[in-house]
């Protein structure tokens, strides 16, 4: 039995006017760290709400931990841990009081699950009497994760847990998820940040309610079958416009310090540098494609 099985799941809002999710299907293995990568409006939150039984699907079916999300939703509710987009904590309650409340909600004692949450909770325990509203983003995130784990769920749903948190805390958070995975917990996590994809076992790239591709981060990138170059010059904007007009250029877009140039077979570096020799400081070198390049390619397909 898979941890999560999703079969042609669809959901629309406003009487069908907004299609949030269109026939999505995929499976998540037990103990897998599975990432949903996509921008706002990709349908990530809708999918989470369907799987945590907060919404009912228009069409299709899905099981979580073997239970049907429509018929057996009560069974699912005691088995999953859920951390919604905005960390759902009570800002006027202390760290300790939040944890105790969520323990009571699931009918457990904090002590029973302490061994599971300890690696995370220990980091914020020195501040246990501080109000949750006064914590930094990273600390809120750790507390919310502790609360979601308090009843030892078999599957953890984390909806954009790293949004609004600084780079250090984000990296620590992914380390914590790796630790939870070791203990056999299945994790479904969503993020709009492509650079976090490499921390997942498998990822689904999604956009506008559809899945563009599912695979390991490594294999997703391997699917990028064009040649890719990084180009730069003194005036980046002129370079962008000129490069796009060149022969053999499929597309060219800003990519941090350089522009990425996607080339087809007719492209020649030599010809490119020759024709653009009037551009000051022109540099071109081959580049490794990233998840983001693949995402752009899939979106344009």
């Amino acid at each position: 039995m898979k941890a999560i099985e999703i079969d042609n799941l669809s959901k629309s809002y406003n009487k069908g006017k907004v299609q949030a999710l269109s026939s999505v299907s995929f499976e998540v293995e037990r103990g897998e760290l599975f990432g949903l990568i996509g921008p706002d409006g990709a349908g990530k939150t809708t999918l989470f709400r369907l799987l945590t039984t907060l919404l009912s699907p228009d069409a299709g079916r899905a099981t979580v931990d073997g239970y049907d999300i429509v018929k057996e939703y009560h069974a699912i509710r005691s088995r999953v841990g859920y951390m919604p987009g905005r960390f759902s904590l009570y800002p006027d309650l202390s760290v300790e009081e939040n944890l105790q409340f969520f323990a009571a909600l699931f009918g457990v004692n904090v002590e029973e699950s302490y061994d599971l949450i300890a690696p995370i909770y220990k980091q914020i325990e020195p501040f246990r009497t501080r109000r949750a509203g006064k914590l930094s983003g990273g600390m809120k995130q750790k507390l919310a994760l502790s609360c979601a784990l308090i009843h030892r769920p078999s599957i953890l749903f984390l909806d954009e847990p790293t949004t609004g948190v600084d780079a250090v805390s984000r990296s620590e958070f992914w380390d914590m998820l790796a630790g939870l995975k070791e203990r056999g917990i299945t994790i479904l996590v969503s993020t709009p940040y492509m650079d976090e994809a490499s921390r997942c076992d498998r990822i689904a790239l999604c956009n506008e309610g559809r899945i563009l591709g599912i695979d390991t981060p490594h294999d997703i990138v391997r699917g990028f079958d064009n040649r890719l170059y990084g180009i730069s010059a003194k005036n980046m904007f002129t370079l962008l416009e000129r490069a796009r007009a060149m022969e053999g250029v499929v597309e060219c877009y800003p990519f941090g310090q350089r522009h990425h140039l996607v080339a087809d077979d007719s492209f020649s570096v030599e010809q490119f540098t020759r024709q653009l020799s009037d551009i000051e400081g022109l540099e071109i070198a081959s580049a490794e494609p990233t998840i983001e390049d693949m995402f752009i390619k899939l979106m344009k397909r």
Partner: protein, 364 residues
């Protein structure tokens, strides 16, 4: 699996206790409203400045003025001339002027025999506050008539509230208003706040039945309301001297039913509203307005147009205010208000039923 109901109540109480500003408002509003309505915004005759115009200061005139001056509700501001009347009223120095006709004593005697028929005393009253003006006029008449021989055909007796103290009327009204404010508004806002913060999602994705969470939320608000109720009753009794002849326990019992009803209304609002702002607006517009306008708080229901009289039947506060008035002011026992109690009870059950049905355990 045990679900610790007590810890839900504790969590809810912590929310309330930590929101000091709201707590302060909830505790102060009753005091402020009671004092305001009880003393300042009053329709009762109090400290009315009266001037007198008299062509001759005869014994009869002097006697009347003495009686006027001795009355605690009027302050005698001296004799003025006919020409000064307008100026004195305009400047607000006096609110009423008593004008005695010339030859007052002799004509008074003739009037007593039924020979003289023209009016002997003219009352000129500043009617910018209609309520005060009409009560003052009525009261002045009773005082002055005493002298002009017993020629009145009517004898008026004010029952239950002989001094026409407005506080008596307002206390039940304020109670009707405050409990909606504390119970309905605060409960709905606190439930909707959880929707806004996103914590509702986590509450729903837990094995606990939502009903349990809802009741845990209601308990602390119910407790606060009881404290407010006791406060109001004490204020009414000892600050405003409301007699409470019908028995405190009766008033308390009806109030408890009304509290339950307000809490249910709050729950109903929370199932409709998605934001705290909306919850506040609905509470204010849909609940406060009818209470102010249609419950008999500001205007007697009998004076409303027929249509609104009919609408007022579905305003719960109307029945509550009616019941409390009967017990607090008329001194009727609880048995006399069975109709009000039955209607309030029925409404509570209906609203609670609808809102629990509407409050589902999904997000849509």
């Amino acid at each position: 699996m045990k679900h610790n109901f007590g810890s839900f109540v504790k969590k809810e109480s912590l929310h309330i206790l930590r929101d000091k500003r709201t707590m302060l408002i909830v505790m102060c509003i009753p005091i402020v409203l009671m004092t305001l309505f009880g003393f300042a915004i009053s329709t009762e005759v109090n400290n009315i400045n009266v001037a007198v115009v008299a062509p001759e200061r005869t014994d009869g005139v002097e006697e009347s003025v003495e009686r006027l001056a001795a009355n605690e509700y009027f302050t005698f501001c001296g004799y003025i001339s006919q020409d000064e009347i307008d100026a004195k009223l305009r400047s607000g120095e006096v609110s009423a002027v008593v004008v005695f006709k010339s030859d007052y004593d002799r004509r008074g005697a003739l009037a007593a025999q039924g020979i003289e028929t023209t009016p002997l005393i003219q009352l000129i009253v500043d009617a910018s506050n209609v309520n005060t003006a009409s009560s003052a006029t009525a009261y002045l008449q009773t005082i002055l008539l005493g002298t002009a021989s017993e020629q009145s055909m009517f004898e008026t007796r004010m029952m239950f509230n002989p001094e026409m103290k407005s506080a008596y009327n307002f206390v039940p009204g304020i109670m009707g208003l405050i409990f909606i404010l504390v119970c309905a508004m605060m409960t709905s806002v606190s439930i909707v706040r959880e929707k806004e913060m996103g914590t509702m999602e986590v509450l729903l994705v837990s094995p606990v039945r939502p009903v349990k969470i809802i009741f845990a939320k209601m308990i602390p608000y119910f407790a606060i309301s009881c404290i407010v109720l006791i406060m109001i009753l004490l204020l009414a009794r000892f600050l405003l001297d409301v007699p409470m002849t019908g028995g405190v326990w009766g008033i308390f019992s009806v109030s408890l039913i009304y509290l339950m009803l307000s809490l249910s209304l709050g729950l109903l609002v929370s199932t409709i509203a998605e934001t705290q702002m909306a919850a506040l607006l609905i509470s204010a517009m849909v609940m406060m307005m009818p209470i102010l306008m249609l419950s008999g708080l500001l205007f007697p229901i009998e004076n409303l147009p027929k249509f609104f009289q009919w609408v007022s039947h579905i305003v719960p506060a109307r029945w509550y205010i009616d019941a409390v008035r009967k017990m607090m002011i008329q001194g009727l026992p609880i048995a006399a208000i069975w109709k009000d109690v039955a209607i309030l009870g029925g409404m509570t059950v209906a609203i609670l039923g609808v809102s629990l049905k509407k409050f589902n355990d999904k997000l849509e």
